[in-house]
Amino acid sequence: MPSLRTETMTVNMGPQHPSTHGVLRLVLELDGEVIHSVMPTIGYLHTGIEKTAEQKKWQQVIPLVERMDYLGPQSNSLSYALAVEKLLGLEMPKRVSDIRVLIAELNRIASHLIWLGTHAMEIGAVSMLFYAIRERELLLNINELIAGFRFFPSYIRIGGLREDLPRGFHEAVNAFLERFPAKIDEFEGLLTKNDIFRRRTEGVGVVTLADAQQWGLVGPIARAAGTDYDVRRYFPYLGYETYEFNVPTATEGDVYARYRVRIAELRESVKIAKQAIARITPSGVWACDDPRVVPPPKDKVYTEMEALIQHFLIYSQGFTVPAGDVYVPVEGPRGEHGTYIVSDGTNRPWRVKMRPPSFMAIQALPAIVKGGLIADVVAVIGSTDVVMGDCDR
């Protein structure tokens, strides 16, 4: 009998494929349904934010960096603001740090909700998307409340916050935190023991701890593989050491483990947010008292000469930052969001570099999906929770 001639098939996936979370392009080499190799192509969303930031004054960079990771924007601006404040040597009042913690956790919940909705939808549980987006809507309303902007609030500023909390903020946050735990139970009721969901996710896309470290993956992907590394625990910032929370981990390292870790993180975020909102007074100090960075209050601007000069200086020239470089990581929804900034002592940054967790995750994608089935690619991409804006910057 003559032997059959076989050859592998090259299939293009993306950049406009709905389950590539934006514009990721994969060139898959298939042997039947088994994946031989994957070649990711990125850069479709590259907008040169880091180069643009070098032309802006320090404070003007905040809205720019928020547009990198557009699902968890405030972890970018938080890490950037903390980095600049470290170079300036600013100490934040406790209330400012508590509000930042609250915002960071709400931001994490919002990002995880989009992950949950899209990930479950891609695996086949289409209605999850609507349940998740419905809850996220409430968080976007809170963003609108504090800044008038739903996606990119730019509420965290160098030197503190944009302004004080609005009226009705506590009610909105408390209402959400009251309502949300029952919703997590609802989500879990739909997925955690769902036979179809488990068969699609268990044992799929396994990342071992050694691999995670080799590929520079830190965050939920590494925590699902066994480490308990969490920036909030290992290198506390914003006073996270005073909050009581657990770092959820799993050991299997598969898609299902990543799902369980992120669901548990939702509960922990609610726990932290509840502690934070209890510490925050409805009104009070919302910025540090450094006149170099924070503009004086308007009533003083209209009555005092020095305040007017200061106001004018800040809004025309900005402020200068001492020369040096600094790297500040925060625990973002996707892992370690870090900002490396270099200052040459002028009023504009010399170099701004974000450490993108999605970038590292996509780099590791070929190693994760190799040898698996083509249908698992979608499950794996969903479970790594990549955002192309974060990856391409």
């Binding site: 592998t8 090259t10 080499e29 190799s37 070649m39 990125i42 850069g43 590259h46 040169g48 880091e50 180069k51 643009t52 070098e54 032309q55 470290k86 170079l87 470290q213 080799q214 590929w215 520079g216 993956l217 830190v218 480490t227 590394y229 290992y234 290198f235 040096g324 470089d325 600094v326 790297y327 500040v328 990581p329 370690e336 870090g338 490396y340 270099v342 010399w350 170099r351 570099k353 450490r355 970038f359 590292m360 780099q363 590791a364 190693a367 391409d392 910057r393």
Partner: protein, 180 residues
């Protein structure tokens, strides 16, 4: 652990390398000579007191017109010892430095990005192609002497005219390249 303690551990492991302590306000910064980089990284990863098993990022900064103009920056993390370190390597205009992909696989794309953005060559890198910019882009945009705003006509492409034979050859070459 500050930079001098790390250098004290590294010096016997990488004999003859001229390490230099860098100024920093967050965590230890060590200047490493480019020709000893790989040995240093291996020592940092494998030494029991350090255990920098995770690569956080590789990036660079252009200090034009200073000479040597580039500094390539490596951020490393040791989960076991709760440590961070920043390695810096000075590279000149046409200089190059070795890849550390043999130590941490995750260095591959960040190094590619540094080449794409700054034009710094990583010797021994298996896949040094454009990453974020289009394949046919000219220049390296993150350099300080690269203009911020350029007028460039929108690039259009003719429909691909390629024979079946050429197409097959391309696919085959691609496969061979990926097999390595």
């Amino acid at each position: 652990m500050d930079a001098s303690a790390i250098i004290a551990i590294l010096t016997p492991l990488v004999p003859g390398a001229a390490f230099e302590q860098g100024r920093s306000i967050d965590f230890a910064t060590v200047y490493v000579p480019a020709d000893r980089l790989v040995e240093t990284c291996r020592a940092l990863r494998d030494n029991d007191a350090l255990r920098f098993t995770t690569i956080i990022e590789v990036t660079a900064a252009d200090y034009f017109p200073r000479e040597p103009r580039f500094e390539v920056v490596y951020h490393l993390l040791s989960i076991e010892r709760r440590l961070r370190v920043r390695l810096k390597v000075r590279v000149g205009e046409n200089g190059s430095l070795p890849t550390v992909q043999g130590i941490w696989k995750g260095a591959g794309w960040p190094e590619r990005e540094v080449w794409d953005m700054f034009g710094i060559v990583f010797d021994g890198h298996p896949d040094l192609r454009r990453l974020l910019m289009p394949d046919d882009w000219e220049g390296h945009p993150a350099r300080k002497d690269y203009p911020v705003q350029i007028r460039k006509a929108a690039q259009t492409y003719e429909p691909m005219e390629i024979s079946e034979q050429e197409f097959r050859t391309n696919i085959e070459r691609d496969r061979v390249r990926r097999a390595h």
